[in-house]
Amino acid sequence: MTARNIIVGLACIAIIVLAAMAWIVLGPGPMAFAPGSTVAIASAGSDPSGVPKELAGGDVIKRGEYLAHAADCLACHTGKDAQAYAGGFAFNLPMIGTIYSTNITPDKETGIGNYTDAQFLAAVHRGKRQDGQNLYPAMPYASYTYMTDADALAIKAYLFTLPAVHAPARANRLNFPFNQRALLTAWNMFFSPDTRFAVNAAQSPEWNRGAYLSEALGHCGECHTPRNLMYALDNRQKFAGALTAGWRAYNISADAKAGLGAWSDASLTSYLATGHAEGHGGAAGPMGEASDNSLTYLTAGDIHAMVVYLRSVPAAASNLPHVITVPAPASFREGVTAGLDKRGEKLFAGACASCHDWTGKGQLTTFATLTGARSVNDPSAVNVAQTVMNGIDRKTAAGNVFMPSFGNAYTNAEIAQLANYVTARFGPEGAHLTEKGVQSLRDQAAQR
């Protein structure tokens, strides 16, 4: 091989790498799918930011409270058994390590009590701490960046009315090289858009409001959009579903099979407003928290706007089988699980059948209906296993949704057996979770 060949070869490789990087880096923005050109809010005819009309007259703190709910600051900034907004929630990232959220109460020493408005905006829009250090993108600043200054500062005003809690940040446990915050500067160069929401004039005011709620505040994509190799959202597969914190965030694109395409507006509205929709199951885990801490506070108009926006996201296929919408047979002896491994059946008979029934449609409460629920229709059984381990304890407008947690008394093998049985009986295809798989799910969702 000649030196020239080598040089040409290397050059080709470099070009391919650069092109690949560019392709990744220059991926579309979260709202780029929608046709139409955008204009800055100030010069647009309508303003999709802020609070709904009902609250518009309220003081900045009331508005900030609504927006803080819509942005769901609480879920991530509250650790297990800790005080609200005092931080300590663990993000367990496979390979990378564990990142803990920080205290955003107005405590001057350990919270954000000393943040100026500009410093607060830098954190929300650009992921910069008060000391100029980079935040990890577990803080969804790549989404929050679309928030207006006024809204971000209203949230700040609200946070500053909270009781100050002295809670020093927990040290992250990150593997090299992820423990090098400086590296994030490079990441930010590529993936931090640092831009505010712009109105798409071709779309309706509802759509724009829905987009603002879903992207700038609700940051749906942070869980529901797959990430690329560089841990940035891959909007080419927008809302196609992803695994986050050991839970499956489902496909919420327009795909008819795997996404929301087959959902009625009423179902979608109900799910967003209460975290439950007849025939589709209910929210648990992180989505349960998003429901209870965030979505439940939104006005009907805002929920409607979100429905409009979500509906417009193009279908992104995911390879989930079709959803089974008919109940399983009334007897354990019938159905696809009849000859299956008896161990899952045994556990189901003891701990589950009382509520869920052998049909999957329990008589006690429709919250317990498994038929049609995405979790049992997902052959990875990720959310089935997580729900079995963690249970559900949600107080919703539609009633209390409760399922006991079994993770502390049942072994990984048992949880796997049960999840495999449940998906086989009530979904299109049984999972093949293993003891190790369950342990990994435990690790990813662990708060410790």
Partner: protein, 150 residues
């Protein structure tokens, strides 16, 4: 005010619709044979029949029952299978402290209603939701088989 069909009678209860049937039975109607054990559908002590099927009354709100017929331990003996089960229970002395037994009998009767000649696997599937801390399981299994033969 919620109206329910209980043991063949229409009963109006001055309780909120979110009240579990268990507490409506016990605290409002004095039907204390139905027991509280866990409140989370894990023990079966609160089992009653709704249209002949065994259900856990601790998580069944009265607002959701509607017109469906509720039968409790106090009246299950008026049904042929209920009477058979109760007799089988007495014949081989299943009972110890007895606290779980209302629920056991309701579940066993519902099983016979559906499966007149249950095998061990049927008994496991129907009775696994009913805990007995006193450990009467060996006899429960036998009594159900005896009742099925009676």
């Amino acid at each position: 005010m919620v109206t329910l069909q209980i043991n063949g009678q229409s009963q109006t209860i001055d309780a909120t619709p979110d009240t579990p049937l268990l507490w409506a039975l016990r605290d409002f109607l004095g039907l204390t044979g139905t027991k509280f054990g866990c409140g989370i559908a894990q023990c079966g002590a609160c089992t009653v029949h709704m249209d002949g099927k065994a259900v856990r009354s601790c998580l069944l709100t009265i607002g959701s029952v509607g017109n469906r017929a509720i039968t409790t331990i106090e009246a299950v003996g008026n049904t042929p299978n209920g009477a058979k089960v109760q007799k089988a229970w007495l014949d081989i002395e299943v009972v110890q402290c007895g606290y779980c037994q209302s629920g056991q009998i309701m579940s066993a009767t519902a099983l016979l209603n559906k499966t007149p000649h249950p095998q061990d696997a049927d008994i496991d599937a129907a009775m696994a939701g009913n805990l007995c801390r006193c450990g009467t399981y060996t006899r429960i299994r036998q009594a159900i088989k005896n009742a099925a033969k009676a």
